[in-house]
Amino acid sequence: MRQYVTFLYRCFRLSFVGTAGYYAWMFALSAVALFGLNAYCKQFVHGMGVTGMTDQVSWGLYIANFAFMVGMAAAAATMVIPVYIYRNRELHDLVIFAELFAVAAIIMALLFVVVDLGRPDRFHHMMLRFNFPQSMLTWDVISLNGYLFLNLHICGYLIYCSYRRREPSRLFYIPFVFVAIVWAFSTQLVEAFLYCGLGGRPFWNSAVIAPRLVASAFAAGPSILIIALQVIALNTTYRVPEKAFRTLRNIIRVAMSCSMFLLISEAFTEFYTDSAHVASARYLFFGLEGRYGLVPWIWTAIGLNLTGLVLLILPISRLRGPMLAACSMIIVGVWIEKGMGLVIPAFVPTPLGEIVEYRPTLNESLVTAGIIAFGLLVFTILVRVTIPVLLGELTFDRPYTPNRNSDSLGAPVSPSSATGVH
C-alpha cells in the first residue's frame, strides 16, 4: 500500500517535470481550463440563461460534446480488439494509451453532463432516488462510471506492474479487458438509447442512431489516437511501431465507410418518404422556412469526413502529413456531425412546430473549451507519467533521474534507450 502511495506521489511529482514545449502546452491548457471555470462560475451564478439554450432547443453544445466524448471513450476498444482478440502482441503497450485517452474522454463526458445541469448542487439526488431502470440517463451514469472504472483498473494495473517490474497477472486484467470491450459498445448503445427512445422527437426515433454512433466513434477515436501517438513518437523516446498507424488507419477506413453508409440510409429514409417527420432533417441539410443555421455546418462535416476518408484510402496517407490532415478532418467532421448534426436538429422545429434556432453563446463555448482543455490536460499528464514507466526509466527500485538530454520527454536521442519492459 505504501508502495502504491509512493508510486502515485512520484507520478504527481513527475507531471511537473518536462521540456519547454511541455510547460508551454500545460500552461496553455491550464489557462483555457481556467477561462472555462470562470465562465462556468458565471453560469452557476446567473443560471443556464447565459447559454444559448432555450425551452425550444433545450440541449445544446454541452450534450453534443457529451455525445462526442462518450464516443471517443468507447473508441479505446479499437485498440483493444486487435490486440486481445486478434492477438496483435506488437501493439500491446499502445492499448494503454488508448485506455488512458478513454479515461480522459469519460472525465470530459461526465463534466459535460454536470455543467448541463440546472441544479448541480442537487447532484446527490441521483444517489437518493435513482430512477433505474426506467430512465436511460441512469443507465448512462452506470455505463460511464463503470467504463471509467474498467479503464482505470486495466491501465492502472498494467502501469503499476511495469513500475514494480513484475509480470502482470493475467487473471487480474484479461477478464476486465474483455468486459471492457463489450462495455465500450454498450456505452454507445446506452448513449444512443438516450435519444432514440423518445417518441416525441422523430429525428432521433430511429434504430440507426446506435450503429451510427458506434461507426462515427470508431472513426474519430482512432483518428485522435493516431494524432496522440504521432505526438508521442515525435516528442518522446517512446518508439511507436509503424504497424500501429497501419492498424488504426484500417479501422478508420472501415468505420468511416460504415458511418457514411448509415448516413446515406438515414437520409434516404427521411427524404424519400418525405413524411411530416422529415422537417428536422430538412432543417439540418437544407434549411427550413428561411432558417439555415445548421446547413453550412453539416455540409462542412460531410465534406471533411469524405475528404478524410478518401485521403486515408489513398496510399499517400502513409506519409505523416497527409495522415494527420486526414485524421484532423475526420475528428472535426465527426464532432460537428454528432454535435450540431445529431443533437440540435431534433429540437428544430419543436414538437409544436415552432422554429427557434440555437446559437451557442461565448460563455458556453468557453465552458466547452475549458472542459476539453482540462481533459487534454488529464490525458497529457497520464501519458507523461506512463511513458517513463513503460520505458523502464521509472521503477520502484531506483530514483528517476531525468537528464534533460535523455529524458523520455526530450527529443529522441538514441533509439537504443527506448526499450519497453514487456
Binding site: Y23, F27, N38, H46, V356
Partner: protein, 237 residues
C-alpha cells in the same frame, strides 16, 4: 536557437507572470454574462377577468334610461308595438339586430307586457329565463348547454357538490347579434432567445389542395367558400 535547457528555464519563469496576467484579465476584464431577457409585454388585469363575458339585463327593471333605472314597461306603454322587420329605432340605438331570420323585436319581446319575453306558445317568461326562449330555435345547442357541453360553467367542476353556476345564453351572446364579436388577442409569446419569428412561407402549403384557403391571403380572406344559408346556421349559438 537557445539551448533546450535555457529555453525550459525561460518558459518556467514566464509561467508565473502569465498566470498573473490571466488572473488580472479574469478578475477585471472578463465580460459579464448577458441574458437577453427580452421585452415582456404585460397584460392589464382587466384583460384577464374571470367569469361571465357579458352582463346582460336579467330583469326588465334594470333598464337604464336617462340615467334612471326603470322597468321597460314604463316607457313602452306610451308607444304602440311595431311588427316591422329590422326597423330603425328611435331609442336603444346601440342595439343592432343581426340575428339571421329572427329579425322582429316582437319575436322575443312581448308586445303587451314589455317587462317579459314571449315564447312561441304565447307563454311569458322573465328576462332571467332567456335559455328557455333560445331553446325554441337552437334545440341541439340547448341540449348541449343543459349537459354543460356548450357554454361555460363557473364554480366547481364537481357536479355533486352543487356549487356550480352555468352561465345563461345571454351572459356570453348578445341576443340581438349573437355571433361572437372578434376581439384583440393578448400579447404573443416572447420567450428567451426565440429570435426573429416573422412568419415564413410554409414549404408544405404549395402542394396542398387546400392551399387557396389554408394560407389565406387578404384577397380571399373574407370570402365565404360554401355560401351562407340560414338553414346552415339554425344550430348556431
Amino acid at each position: 536557437m537557445m539551448p533546450s535547457r535555457l529555453r525550459t528555464e525561460t518558459v518556467l519563469w514566464a509561467i508565473g507572470p502569465l498566470f498573473a496576467l490571466v488572473a488580472v484579465w479574469l478578475f477585471f476584464f472578463s465580460p459579464k454574462a448577458e441574458i437577453p431577457l427580452g421585452v415582456s409585454r404585460p397584460v392589464a388585469h382587466s384583460d384577464i377577468l374571470r367569469g361571465a363575458w357579458r352582463t346582460p339585463l336579467m330583469d326588465a327593471r334594470e333598464s337604464i334610461v336617462d340615467g334612471i333605472k326603470r322597468p321597460c314597461s314604463e316607457c313602452h306603454r306610451l308607444f304602440a308595438p311595431s311588427q316591422a322587420e329590422n326597423r330603425t329605432l328611435m331609442q336603444h340605438k346601440e342595439i343592432v339586430l343581426r340575428h339571421g331570420i329572427n329579425a322582429r323585436c316582437l319575436n322575443c319581446h312581448d308586445g303587451a307586457d314589455r317587462d317579459k319575453l314571449v315564447l312561441h306558445n304565447g307563454a311569458l317568461v322573465g328576462f332571467d329565463q332567456a335559455p328557455l326562449l333560445c331553446s325554441q330555435c337552437h334545440g341541439t345547442v340547448f341540449r348541449d348547454w343543459q349537459h354543460g357541453v356548450h357554454g361555460k360553467t363557473m364554480g366547481s367542476w364537481d357536479a355533486a357538490s352543487g356549487a356550480q353556476r352555468r352561465l345563461a345564453c345571454n351572459e356570453c351572446h348578445d341576443p340581438h347579434s349573437p355571433a361572437y364579436r372578434p376581439m384583440a388577442p393578448l400579447a404573443g409569446p416572447g420567450t428567451l432567445r426565440m429570435g426573429d419569428q416573422t412568419p415564413h412561407e410554409s414549404h408544405a402549403g404549395r402542394r396542398s389542395p387546400l392551399r387557396q384557403w389554408s394560407h389565406g391571403s387578404p384577397a380571399h380572406g373574407d370570402a365565404d367558400p360554401s355560401g351562407t344559408s340560414d338553414e346552415d346556421k339554425e344550430d348556431e349559438p
